[in-house]
Symmetry: C2
């Protein structure tokens, strides 16, 4: 099966969590917005308004798989995880992996909101004082809370602390890699302070980055660079 | 099987989406925080720190089902939906129901953030000017966008517009009922303006409210009243 991914072509954004799963699974996919002759935003937007769709998506990312249109990042990852061995096959393991993925989803919202506390409808420049306040609270309370949690989850894994679930990588590990990579880009000073107390999380990041398919992907042109239009933005004034 | 639900005892919050599913399914459950002799916050907090837990939850709600501890609202609802007929049995239907539930999850975050734009670590009183700005943006752009979306989903359902998925209620319908009920409580003026353009969504709310088990639940003492500690808060200054 060949997949089609609909996501904004100039940012990693939430689409990146899907791209990482497709890459690790070795599945070919058409990244629809990234046309040979340049970014095609219209092709991405069109999937939201496709005539006759009985399962219309609210927002990208959207994955097309044969006659299925699937949206919501964690939902797409549950689907890919089941199909391509990126989640355990038993119910308890599948639920646990999904639970971790949804906790990462919550974290990503909070990271995004450090620069968009008033929501997605205004530019950063229109909410800078609010962003400064929200980022300070994030660094003081929320960043350590989430890092502590995933450090604890790794330590509690009966199969060892190499991965979040069992003894092989799941979509939750790939997503946690992406969050750590993004946090390092956005908040290098905050992460420099936070990393020593979270060695398992950092080791997981490095372990995922070194997987052959992920390493090849990260070195390729398919990996869009972090930038100040995505979820993880490096605004030095927010890195306290 | 008897379930135990761990959630803060004095608010509906995210636990309410789980309570509604348990009530509609006719499943008995121990609402652990609501002890006979009064609210027991410690019993809820303790589940987050349970010694030896291999699947530690990040936050309530948490559902205990035999030897499973399941967290993340949408994850709990997927589990209950599968077990108790509150989601279709086929893969495509299950994914679609989960997708709608996750879109409701996103909406709930944005509703919560109208009064907490700087995050959960500060009181409303410490972020009132920011809340006023965020609520205004919510009313102008986001409330109509989400309402339009669910109105469209109902209209696109090949089985008719009585429910979101197929011709019987799923956990997504129960959750949409709860969001509409909450929005009416929090923003009566905004909803008075918005409701006429969204007749299917409002009819769905009324249809769910009239289901025998839901109606009995809503009239019982098990239903906590909306209040200014939960997700849906009636601050008249935010209802524009």
């Amino acid at each position: 099966m060949a997949y089609a991914l609909y996501y904004w072509p100039t940012i990693q954004g939430r689409g990146e969590f899907v791209r990482l799963a497709l890459e690790e699974a070795g599945q070919p996919y058409d990244d629809v917005g990234r046309a040979a002759d340049g970014p095609d935003f219209d092709a991405v937007a069109a999937v939201l308004e496709r005539a006759g769709a009985v399962h219309p998506p609210f927002a990208p990312p959207v994955l097309e798989a044969s006659d299925l249109l699937i949206a919501q990042t964690a939902n797409i990852l549950a689907f890919l995880g089941e199909r391509h061995g990126l989640a355990p096959g038993d119910d308890a393991g599948r639920l646990w992996t999904n639970q971790l993925q949804l906790t990462i989803t919550d974290w990503v919202v909070e990271i995004h909101d450090t620069h968009h506390p008033l929501g997605p409808s205004l530019y950063y420049e229109d909410q800078q004082p609010e962003a400064a306040r929200r980022a300070a609270v994030f660094h003081e309370y929320r960043l350590p809370k989430f890092l502590d949690y995933f450090e604890r989850v790794l330590g509690a894994n009966p199969a060892g602390d190499a991965y979040l679930v069992g003894d092989r990588p799941t979509h939750a590990d790939l997503s946690l890699f992406q969050v750590i990579a993004g946090l390092r880009y956005a908040f290098p000073r905050a992460m420099e302070g936070a990393e020593p107390a979270h060695p398992r999380v950092i080791a997981l990041h490095d372990r995922i980055a070194a997987r052959p398919r992920i390493a090849a992907y990260l070195a390729s042109e398919r990996r869009i660079a972090f930038n100040e239009d995505g979820i993880f933005r490096h605004y030095p004034e927010l890195d306290t």
